[in-house]
Symmetry: D2
Subunit: 429 residues, 4 copies
């Protein structure tokens, strides 16, 4: 008697392979789902592996175009950055994957979904909130939070033994032994992963005390998606990105004359050029959703370029005060998305508001990509609020400088009143 | 009969020299004040020039240390950035200068102050709001807003003729003919200036139409404070910046072992290293205080490094929610400062709040400076909220993963209710 | 030779009558425009007066329905309150009037508009920003800011003499000698007006020093739109207001069975019932747009009821987090509107966002109106997110109380970390 | 062998009495703690009851003065209101009680604390977050979340039987059978409680469907702290409240000449007068911390008066822009407090910022209390920024009306640019 059907988010790696077998052991029928969101993976090998381990059905789906259009693009419109530095590569991928996973669960009549995210991280939250939001009756099996599972498989050795016992292939290459997250947007390595990789790579991290862990420089070969700027080309690439409604509709390599115009191609090309020049590396300590601080090392080449260009064309075409309101919404949006609420009334509302703000965000931005850096070179737009004549010192146009005197004096009324009562007492700050 | 005494913010350049003479012509006694805030200037030559043009008194004062400690440091605590990109180098310098200028005016019994800022820019506002805030009864003479002045001197030719007629030395080198702003924090060149420089330098900017003006790439020799990254060293410098209360108290060049520990030395050294590696160049279109968009090209090497390091140590040592509130205050602070309100009840309040948030912002950040880019390498702090054990996947410690299930399910209550009523209807975004 | 045509916002009172004649004296053709936005006025008498004083054309238009639907309704959706207390009755009326005025100016080929607002108030700003936003080329004549006008007519005597000389009828009743603002939304009396009324009414305000002016209680007969609660009925009226998309679509007097369902009728009825029970009186000191504080005494009966009911149905039907974001937008909206920016990119954007948030704000609110107070009695909605079963203590339903333990422990992770490092040291707040 | 010592927050009522006995049954030593925070309770009877039920120690402490000074006063400085209507009477009391409870636990060497809050409410969160924040190692026993407890005692019958069996006195009066919250600030009755009371009171609430529950009017005798306004005095009381640093330092009944000047006396007197006139009743549906909506009926007489008066004196003495920033902090503060984070880094930070904003919030407010309503009559302050001369229409003073023209024209630059590009197309909103 089956306990029911589980749709498992399957990565093809050691841990979700073990989970697959373990779920069967617990009496479930298991359907695996592997989303292609741009990670470097042998999907056919993963299919065979899942089948050989007893998956009832195996779904492998290419969500890359959808990921770009429905997730990366809205995030770009929102200039989505968490805590001023993290570009949300993982946070945005989770709802894309989980959305499809619950669709499969509904279609296949599965009451359960499962995943391999750990119990201390953000991903479990992003994953499960999406599931609950889109399939409220679903039951979630998170083995890394189930004591029988995590106390049994704690540490790599437990998993290895279990794998050997159950004929689960064990990776012989040491790369990414756990759950390094890689997708079209970025590669993330965090705390745990960093050390694992370190140890596997025989780096001497012998005294990983509290302080050393966050001071320890990232090893050069940790980076997979971006060239070391020290080794990157000595000639910049110059790109022109064309926007409409706040999303890129074309990217052109100005020197080479080459251009791309489908969302997936555009984004992939930004990744390629960014990666080539070592753009988008960041090493940060961030605040997780569950209130602990965590170190993450990210490579986000394409999004780094895109963010730069979007900020530029947006400021160029958007009214000052609208920009300021919208910027407040952007920041909230990034926080909600980081915390797992992509599918929520608040994010839905924010996406609508933000999309509305992008109606006139169109035009072209030229930028140079060189040695890890993005330089904006210039921009043009049919919708720009920039007015050369208005701004010029040589042309007064419709502008009367005397007005500024009144403007300033009126702005000072409040300051003078404040002084009258409180006083600044000379040099006081 | 004198109309009274004017303290003129004197730059030593053509336009404020003409203003000096013109004010005398109008019947005022003129005291000139020239602040050294780190610009590249021959102060003694300026003194002689002012004296020879009839200044009653000449004040030249070195405000560099004060500028760093009382202006740049509080801005660093606030991660002060306007519209996500402009580091406020001019906006922060104006109140520093004007504060001293009104002190001199009070001391010298002058009822008037004057300056050479134009009638379309931000600087007139920053300058005058400071004056009104600290010396409410002061009268301001802004010649570029007085029709008799600006219609007479409109364009360079008028000024040149006036200069020749009145024995005002005319610069023979074409550099910075107007009011390019340069100080310890940055060099700014904006719209007008850009074109002037261009034309003086014989760049062919023949068709400066609306679109071309903002698309036109900045000429390579426009940059004065930073090396072109293409020509900068092929070896990074590695710095360690030590913070206390959110401000740097020491900077060490890790390879060279050299270190600085006074505010002015620290900041100057950050400028030196940043400039050497081409750090801090930005080309933006920003929204001016008076509602027009304007292009600015900035070089801000030291502050760019400092901002990176401060963001890092702050996030490392500050509680997540405090950070979020404080970030909101930062953004408001930057807006107020940009708009000229450094000396205002609101900025005073914000500075107090922000300073209070910095009590535990202490520790060391290591960073690498290379080819225009700043890379954070690691950080350590006795006040860090980072907890290696808590975050580790191998150690549960005091953390029960089951709690996360409850956390997520409670967080989902609202989402499921929303679904119940509105529904997401499958693939809907 | 005419200097051109002016469309004058004409109130029928002494000052705009004098302005009419004065504008003619200055050589302009004058078209008068008088908007009926619900003030108590003899419109036909005003027409005759304007004609007799030489208006080239007289426009008198009933904008009441438009005022309710396009101005009061969006403000209600935004729960628009300035500084927590002022319901924006004047601020919302100005753009409604000025919008029509510039339409007339365009249609009649007038290059000028004029108004009787003073040079220290908010209304000049609200009026003129609307004009510039909708008719950027318009020239504005604001006599109370023109030295020849205001120095000549300063104080009531100057106007009276001018009126007598030019055959302008002088009001014999002393009520509202200046510009008390009255419309469908409210009656406002502020600083100046209050004193004027006072003096005319022979109240002994002999020592109107700084402190007395704001401590001085409003005289009982100052109120025109609302009954004194001490004299209001001893029986409450019970209303049921039905909302759709966040605006009222029907109001029913539950006891009397009477109901209204057109916007103007609904709003007028709320005013009637509110006024009958003394609802909506407020005496505040507010911060004007131009940085001074000013006392205002307001009567806003209908809007006070509407705000209460809308807040209730909104909270009942809107997701918690959406509400919080939307509340931030509301507050900004009220500030912009107060400061005169109804017609601006930012208010346009905010109105769109807010309208979007109202899609599910529907249902019925019952409330009791009694002695100056509005009591919410209950509410119902087909779109409510209230879930009786979920909230019940007797029914667990789909809710597992154990989840709350996890939720709380995870929420406490951050607090415990904070304690670990900083400590609260026992009783410290 | 004892499992350890538990400090139980004991109310003297049925459920915490059962918990006391049940905890003993489970093998714990139980210390009871009953805080007097102003609720109507026979504390000596509660002491005897606890002792007779086997409490090892009984703590009964009068926290009223501390509650007023350290909790109600800071909330008043923050104008603390949740979702625009709830004055946080319960939310503020919880940390006051729990703080003392963990102090006792530490002092008595107890590893456990316990309480009778239910598993769906806010109070469990407020209670426990305080405990974890101040005593991170504490273990919490929340019986209403422990399946063995809540499945055994679910519903009143279970508790009654258990009580009878264990000699726990059962209340014979039907008042507040469950956990109606009453303290110095307010009395709260919510969803569940409302129905319970209803049923006990034999109200026919036979068809408590979803809609009826929130439409059902509160029965008149539900209110305990405030008179029905219909029966309240026909003469207002006029109070003068004097503030210093944003908190009341004296209240005077103007007619009676009576005054109070200790915090507890002041607050109690505000409650008395407010209660006498039926002030502070609200019936709302609010969003709980855990994402469900819940109906609450509140009586908060003193705080309602205080909030009105504080808002008035604050606006009178605080700069416009500071007020706006501070208002944003207030709103965040109220949200955090509602959600249980009184003792958190963020609330600590906000309290400091808010306190700093109150330095000049001093002066006197006169108000009239009548039939459920608070009317501000006037205010005075030595620190007011109100400037009668500046605001007067008759005196220009230092103010030049022409400045307003410039102010408006500069403010319109942006609007005209927007029109130039987008256009409002006439009547468009």
């Amino acid at each position: 008697m089956s306990k029911g059907t589980v749709v498992l988010a399957y990565s093809g790696g050691l841990d979700t392979s073990c989970i697959l077998v373990w779920l069967k052991e617990q009496g479930y029928d298991v359907i695996t789902f592997l989303a292609n969101i741009g990670q470097d993976e042998d999907f056919e090998a993963a299919r065979k592996k899942a089948e050989s381990l007893g998956a009832k059905k195996v779904f492998i789906e290419d969500l890359r175009a959808e990921f770009v259009e429905n997730f990366i693009w809205p995030a770009a419109q929102a200039n989505a950055v968490y805590e001023d530095r993290y570009l949300l590569g993982t946070a945005i991928a989770r709802p894309c994957i989980a959305r499809r996973q619950v669709e499969i669960a509904r279609k296949e009549g599965a009451q359960f979904v499962s995943h391999g995210a750990t119990g201390k991280g953000n991903d479990q939250i992003r994953f499960e909130l999406t599931c609950y939001a889109l399939y409220p009756e679903v039951k979630i099996i998170a083995p890394w939070r189930i004591p029988e599972f995590y106390s049994r498989f704690h540490g790599r050795t437990g998993l290895m033994e279990y794998a050997q016992k159950h004929g689960i292939p064990v990776p012989t290459t040491p790369r990414a032994p756990w759950s390094m997250d890689s997708n079209l947007m970025h590669i993330r390595q965090n705390d745990t992963e960093l050390f694992k990789i370190g140890s596997v790579k025989k780096l001497v991290l012998s005294s990983c005390t509290h302080i050393i862990s966050t001071t320890n420089h990232a090893p050069a070969d940790l980076y997979l998606m971006t060239k070391n700027p020290e080794d990157s080309p000595n000639d910049p690439d110059v790109l022109e990105i064309e926007f409409s409604h706040g999303v890129p509709v074309k990217v052109t390599n100005v020197k080479e004359g080459k251009s791309k115009d489908s969302p997936l191609d555009i984004f992939s090309y930004l990744n390629e050029i960014g990666g080539k020049h070592g753009v988008g590396r960041t090493d940060i300590v961030e605040n997780r959703a569950i209130g602990m601080k965590s170190r993450g090392i990210y490579e986000t080449p394409g999004t780094t370029i895109l963010l730069s260009a979007h900020l530029d064309i947006e400021t160029f075409t958007m009214d000052k005060e609208v920009r300021q309101i919208k910027r407040g919404l952007d920041i909230k949006f990034a926080e909600f998305v980081y915390n797992g609420f992509w599918y929520s009334p608040e994010c839905e509302f924010l996406r609508h508001c933000i999309a509305m703000s992008q109606v006139n965000v169109e035009g072209k931005v030229q930028l140079s990509i060189f040695k890890g850096q993005v330089y904006i070179l210039g921009r043009e737009s049919p919708k720009s609020l920039y007015n050369e004549e208005l701004v010029s010192m040589d042309v007064l146009g419709d502008y009367d400088p005397c007005d500024a005197s009144g403007f300033i004096r009126i702005s000072a009324v409040r300051l003078r009143e404040h002084h009258r009562l409180q006083g600044y007492h000379g040099a006081k700050q």
